[in-house]
Symmetry: C2
Subunit: 397 residues, 2 copies
């Protein structure tokens, strides 16, 4: 497997366009359309928030058929908490794309991100969709990736090439992240394309597995959005014989897909709102994997710890304190903690480490915090960032 240039349109058979249609008042790109030349096998995962945006509700319904040909997405307005009008508007977006492509609206998926509780500016969106459809291209992936950005500071895309049954296959992906990022989907939209030939139920299974160890293991601020959506379209053009059981071909695909989602997930954590640090948090020695994941998430949600990390202060007590509220099986007298390779705590008390060495590590832009609970053999890894003045500044409005 190797990384290749580009993103979603680096996969044969996919066109895309990203345009500015005035939903964002800044004039930045705010509407993207992705089209598969053929009808693709589709799968998706959606926010666990009980308050779901209109496009999430519509796409959750549509994904059940397992088939799709296009995705339309906008930034600048979340179309959430908009009632029946919101549902109508989300459906209208799919109808506009469908009529331009001369296909059924049932084959179009929809996603939105932006401010909650505002009516969609449908006149602008109508123009935007027309503009995007007329600009579709086999190199349009980058424009699309820009069109779904909100407070992101850089666009996020990746593509990989790998061999499956001796055929060349590809996966491309783009994502937006930044704030409101936490378990079970974030304010994140992620669109993935692939030319692998795979049955729908295995595509859905692989997507869920990949999302569980990537997007569900990043945390910026512990908030989970109403709009989170991950969609994948598979057009089968790679020519492999259909993946329809958990064999080595499935494993090859899953590994490539996980690489793509993990890479995109890390980009989100690196670009967390106001983030100055990128931290890999490893919990091992947990009794169960669920405990390991819980510990990761509780620690990553501590504003106190995240402020200390911003301040480059080796305040490991805040890690201990977060562990203690994470509702996992633990013994405070067993916990070991490292910053990179420097052991900070052993059996729950300070190792008498050098504060200077610890600060040298915390001064870096990227480092690893490892926690060994010594209760069992389960482990988990999460990627997070610090909490800075700029997080507050970005979220004042």
């Amino acid at each position: 497997m190797k990384e290749i240039e580009g993103g979603i349109t680096s996969v044969p058979g996919f066109r895309s366009a990203g345009v500015a249609c005035g939903i964002k008042t800044t004039g930045a790109k705010d509407l993207a359309v992705i089209v598969c030349d053929d009808v693709a096998v589709s799968a998706g995962t959606f926010t666990s928030n009980k308050v779901k945006s209109a496009p999430v509700l519509v796409s959750m319904e549509r994904i059940k058929s397992g088939k799709a040909k296009a995705i339309v997405a906008n930034s600048g307005n979340a179309n959430a908490c908009t009632g029946e009008q919101g549902i109508k508007d989300a459906k209208r977006m799919t109808e506009l794309v469908a009529s331009g492509l001369n296909i059924s609206p049932e084959l179009v998926l929809v996603a939105s991100t932006g401010k909650i509780g505002r009516k969609m500016p449908m006149d602008k969106i109508e123009n935007g969709i027309k503009l995007a459809l007329s600009g579709l291209s086999y190199t349009g992936g980058h424009d699309s990736a820009e069109a779904i950005m909100t407070t992101d500071t850089f666009s996020k895309e990746i593509a990989v090439e790998f061999d499956i049954q001796k055929k060349k296959a590809h996966i491309g992906g783009m994502v937006k992240g930044a704030g409101m990022i936490n378990p079970n989907m974030a304010t994140m939209l992620c669109f993935l394309t692939t030319d692998v030939c795979i049955e729908q139920s295995f595509l859905q299974k692989a997507l869920k597995s990949a999302v569980d160890v990537s997007f569900n293991m990043i945390s910026v601020d512990g908030d989970t959005s109403t709009n989170d959506t991950v969609l994948i379209l598979a057009n089968g053009k790679a020519g492999n014989s259909p993946i329809n059981r958990l064999d080595s071909s499935y494993e090859v695909f899953l590994r490539a897909l996980t690489y793509v989602t993990t890479s995109l997930a890390k980009m989100i954590a690196k670009d967390g709102e106001g983030a100055t640090k990128f931290i890999e948090l490893r919990v091992r020695g947990a009794k169960t994997e669920q405990d390991a994941r819980k510990a990761c998430h509780t620690i990553a949600r501590s504003p106190l710890l995240k402020c200390a990390l911003f301040g480059e202060d080796p305040n490991w007590g805040r890690i201990m304190s977060s562990l203690g509220i994470s509702d996992i099986d633990m013994d405070q007298n067993k916990v070991d903690i490292w910053f990179d390779d420097l052991k900070i705590a052993q059996n729950g008390i300070s190792t008498g480490f050098s504060e200077e060495s610890a600060k040298d590590i915390l001064k870096k832009k990227e480092y690893v915090i490892t926690i060994d609970l010594k209760m069992g053999n389960a482990k988990a890894t999460l990627w997070t960032c610090d909490l800075s003045y700029d997080y507050v500044k970005i979220n004042i409005v």
Copy 2:
């Protein structure tokens, strides 16, 4: 019932002193001793964090006897994550007080607050205890309240006088709060005194009830400390016949106690680290009280919402989004939301309220956010604050 001057020493029969002994490098007061002239009936509640400080472990053990004569508390060092040495040091603090008062160490309770993971400077503490014991006075409550402050910007105390069985009775209290404040105790120490005559099991029951609707219903940042402690000593000097059942005398006492703990809890939320707003959050129409409390806590834990409140931005979508992740019984199409008396959302969508009127409310230093879930009749109230630049600044170290 009426509020009277002072705090814990406004109750007859209690002496106290607060001194500076150098645990804090600033030279501020950092050690307090509270002494009851007689042996008092005692009760306590402690942090739910599985990582518990040494003084919490010692006091949890001691409180079982239901009797106490003194409390020793320090700020500047939490004596948490300090292993066996920490336990020895906490016990040593009680022994030093006990030997000065010529009583058994079993009658002395201990509490600490400050940085986690550092050995206690026992030489300084020894001097501090000597100094405090020699300075005990019936007007020393205020000095004590100052001695337990950490990042608090003002000392927090209250006293009330009320009639019970036609006798004058009193409750005095002091608390420290500021950061790491959340459900099930905060980095908060609270010491309460009363002259009411009450059996231990009823004192414990009343304390738990009062704490549940006060200290357990404030939230600054969603972190729960390793050191949270609430202790009450009752010396029986009011002369009422002992409260030993759930009768009207118990109700009178509980009402006064709840008034005291709620007043102190609100002071903590008002003095939240970096707080510029004091917000009363009311959730009603919940299916169960547990749902109402959960909803309050999840909303109050959202950094996104708290930044918006700091920015005086009526971003009610962040309330909806938090409700959706709070794991309660809800229907997004039923939710109503108010800022003070201004209805912002009805049945989950915007009322088309005036942004200007909403901003006028959010500009105030104190206001109420009300949420009606329309699922049932249960309700809860929580007090919280916003998340400002200064929260980050304070917690960098």
